[in-house]
């Protein structure tokens, strides 16, 4: 009876322990898998012709001729799309049409003035042309088909007037005929709706395909190219095909976004063809190809992280981490040595120890502000340097942040060194310092390296401390310790808080985070190998 109870107890405990471990693994996978999946997209994706154009322009990669051929091929398809939009747009805009009428009127006025007619004759002709112009403009502004027809007929009635023979006034009639054709095709009552929709379509097409070949090159690099990635292109194609509206629900519930197909909106017009065209020819316009962008890890990025990689961020993160560890490692070990070897167990030591323990729990943003106040605003001017965040101040802040971890790990490690080592060394006539350096420290090194591993993970990933003390989102590689640097953590933070940036370059944000995780894993693996090697040596294997 008693035995079986114990047995069950034992099994329950084992079950719980296994369950907890399993749960941990599941949670870890749940957290990591989507992140890694999205981060991988930064490197492996469907790159469009725009991507290859960008790589050629910005990074000088790729075969110029191949890209030019591809570009020409894609342009043929694109031109058809542009033509469709242009064709439809012509009839829509009252202002544009009116403007054209006004222009013709003005040109004609000039023409007849040059003819040096009698003032009466001049006035008559002028009057007539103004009348035609006004008729046209009225026709443009109306939306009823019959009324427009009447006005246009009035205008066309003057077509055979001899006054206008051989003058630019015949453009009036061309315009009138063009418009009468448009009127046949378009429901002018929905003109405004069409114009809005067309504006949206044009915006999406601009983002999808980039600026037109003839247009001026935009100042910002990210505006020079269409969608470089097929996944982002699909979003823009979706914008072309559907309009999005916020619709209120019943019972005053929150608004919901619904997609409305534009095909129905433009049903019966020339434009209806466009949507099928875009859907069917997306690949022809963008020419997606599977791309493995391994240079992601070495490339610089353009402003806003639209294009390029995280090379500079990796270098910056490594730099900050290494300098921070160069600062924290010796200081931490020396402090720990003092606490273990020198300090007596007095109230002062107890307070120091308490402070260290409390510091370990202080939020990192507090360290960031401390770094700003002390290192940037006070120490740098004191050193005669410019008071701005830089690698040095950021590293020092990170060093201070990780100092408690370093001290505690080192303290435990030094304390764990067998007392016999110390006795043996002292018994041979070594001084305390020599005993510490030659015997205690090497024996404590594996434990201290555990502290280093913990510190590296913390330091490399921290954002808040470097926020104010030397991280930047943009800028060249630091040339000295007094230049700011870009870091992975700050980069992903910058994308997150940047205006809609996270929606436009999600792959980059996840890419940075995954790169950071990889970087930490690499650094830690190196430290673990080093530790294992030292451990092996200490054990004499």
């Amino acid at each position: 009876m008693k035995f079986s109870f114990r047995y069950i107890q034992d099994k329950i405990f084992t079950g719980f322990a296994t369950g907890a471990a399993g749960l941990l693994v599941v949670v870890l996978l749940l957290v990591l898998t989507p992140m890694v999946y999205r981060g991988t997209k930064a490197v492996v994706f469907q790159g469009t012709i725009e991507y290859r154009k960008m790589q050629l322009d910005v990074f000088g990669r790729g075969d110029i001729e191949v890209i030019a051929t591809e570009k020409a091929k894609a342009q043929q398809v694109r031109d058809k799309l542009y033509a469709m939009i242009e064709g439809f747009k012509k009839g829509l805009d009252v202002d544009v049409l009116s403007g054209r009428a006004k222009n013709i009127y003005r040109n004609y006025g000039k023409e007849i003035r040059d003819k040096e007619l009698a003032s009466e004759e001049f006035r008559r002709r002028r009057e007539l042309s103004r009348k035609i112009r006004n008729e046209l403009m009225t026709a443009f502004s109306l939306s009823d088909k019959e009324q427009i027809k009447a006005h246009l007929d009035n205008v066309l009635g003057y077509k055979d007037n001899t006054d206008f023979e051989g003058t630019s006034a015949k453009d009036f009639f061309a315009l009138a005929e063009e418009f009468s054709e448009i009127v046949e095709n378009i429901d002018l009552k929905r003109r405004k709706e069409y114009a809005n929709s067309l504006g949206e379509i044009e915006g999406a097409v601009l983002k999808l395909l980039g600026p037109l070949p003839g247009d001026a090159v935009p100042a910002l690099v990210q505006d020079r190219y269409g969608c470089t990635r097929m996944d982002m292109a699909k979003v823009q194609i979706d914008r072309v095909l559907y309009s999005q509206r916020w619709v209120s629900q019943a019972n005053n519930d929150s608004l919901v976004k619904v997609k409305i197909s534009r095909v129905q909106q433009f049903a019966g017009t020339e434009m209806a063809r466009l949507f099928d065209f875009v859907e069917n020819n997306a690949d022809a316009m963008l020419m997606p190809k599977s791309t493995f962008y391994w240079q992601y890890f070495i490339d610089d990025s353009t402003a806003g992280h639209y294009f390029g990689g995280v090379g500079h961020e990796i270098i910056g993160t490594l730099l900050l981490t290494i300098v921070a560890m160069l600062f924290a490692f010796p200081l931490g070990v020396i402090s720990a040595a003092y606490l273990v070897e020198c300090a007596s167990d007095g109230p002062v030591t107890r307070i120091v120890r308490m402070c260290i323990n409390s510091l370990a729990g202080v939020p990192s943003v507090v360290f960031g502000l401390f770094g700003l106040a002390f290192f940037v605003l006070y120490l740098l001017p004191l050193m005669g340097a410019l008071s701005k965040g830089c690698v040095l101040t950021a590293s020092l802040t990170l060093g201070v942040l990780t100092l408690p971890v370093m001290i505690r790990a080192s303290e435990e490690a030094i304390r764990a060194v067998p007392k016999t080592y110390k006795e043996a060394s002292l018994g041979l006539g070594a001084t305390g310092l020599r005993t510490f350096v030659k015997v205690t420290l090497p024996a404590a090194m594996p434990g201290i390296l555990t502290g280093v591993i913990l510190s590296i993970s913390r330091v490399a990933g921290e954002t808040a401390p470097v926020l104010f003390t030397g991280a930047v989102a943009l800028g060249p590689l630091p040339k000295s310790l007094f230049d700011p640097a870009r870091t992975l953590s700050y980069g992903s933070y910058d994308i997150a808080v940047g205006d809609r940036l996270a929606m436009q370059v999600p792959h980059n944000q996840y890419g940075m985070v995954v790169t950071l995780v990889l970087l930490i894993i690499v650094l830690n693996t190196a430290a673990i190998f080093l530790r294992a090697k030292i451990f092996k040596k200490l054990k004499g294997l």
Partner: protein, 285 residues
């Protein structure tokens, strides 16, 4: 006595019973050519805070001989031994009174150079405690402390020390190997070699065989026997047979006090005090 012979028979090959020799003759022989230091304790007391470690010890340890200190646990024999090279300083909050003189100098006087003292007074600990380094580095650790950097000189010191610790033949081919690769007995002899490498006059041994098997113990005892011609050896031991085997003189400590100090033969055969007799015959407690 019965117990003793029984035990010694376990290690026949190495058993020696010093009491059979005539100690006076041995002493005389050595006095002529021995440059070893004399340790003298004059009314020496050692306190851990309020607790007494040892109390009013007055004794003289003779040069170039083996002196054993025996006694029950907590009697202060280790405390006394560890006071001689002041390794006790590691313990916080201690105080002393009286004098403990090594080579005519009170080690607890203010101007004692600890480094020099400890180089002259080598120590071997209860458990083998080689450093986590190679055998060679272990042996020459003390020599390096003295500032010797010449490799061939260090090599020579290592060889000499290992030879005098009777370990040379076993390790001469793998000096670069880690000290942890050695067996427990070898490690302890390595520790002795390490202590010898600083060329001390006195060798303190704090239960050097308590963690070793009988065969390793026998080897260490042989070594002690060999070393006593050149070193003053003080050995603390729980094993009375060992004390009888290796030492010329034996001191019996009890409750922090020196009860009796005399030639080993006398202590074990004809002790002067009842307490000593009770202890050596196993009736103690």
């Amino acid at each position: 006595m019965a117990v003793m012979t029984e035990k010694t028979s376990n290690i026949n090959s190495v058993s020696k019973f010093k009491a059979n020799k005539n100690p006076d003759i041995i002493m005389k022989q050595k006095d002529d050519n021995c440059k070893c230091a004399v340790v003298k304790s004059e009314d020496f007391s050692f306190y851990y805070g309020d607790k007494t470690g040892v109390k009013n010890i007055t004794m003289e340890i003779y040069p170039c001989s083996v002196t054993a200190i025996i006694g029950p646990s907590g009697c202060g024999k280790s405390t006394f031994l560890r006071s001689i090279n002041r390794i006790n300083d590691l313990v916080l909050n201690t105080s002393t009174s009286g004098k403990l003189i090594v080579d005519g100098h009170n080690v607890y006087s203010k101007n004692t150079n600890l480094v020099e003292l400890r180089q002259r007074v080598g120590m071997v600990f209860q458990k083998p405690n080689p450093f986590p380094k190679s055998i060679f580095d272990n042996v020459v650790y003390g020599a390096k402390l003295k500032g010797i950097k010449n490799r061939s000189k260090l090599q020579q010191i290592a060889e000499e020390s290992l030879k005098s610790a009777a370990l040379w033949d076993e390790v001469k081919n793998d000096l670069r190997k880690s000290a942890f690769a050695l067996s427990g007995g070898q490690q302890q002899r390595l520790c002795i070699a390490r202590a010898l490498a600083t060329k001390p006059n006195i060798l303190l041994m704090d239960e050097p065989c308590s963690a070793l098997d009988p065969i390793a113990t026998g080897k260490i005892e042989d070594l002690i026997d060999k070393l006593q011609t050149d070193y003053t050896i003080v050995i603390v031991t729980h094993n009375m047979q060992q004390a009888a085997r290796v030492s010329e003189r034996t001191a019996f400590f009890c409750l922090g006090e020196l009860i009796e100090y005399d030639q080993t033969a006398k202590i074990f055969r004809n002790p002067g005090k009842k307490q000593t007799e009770d202890y050596v015959t196993g009736r103690f407690g």
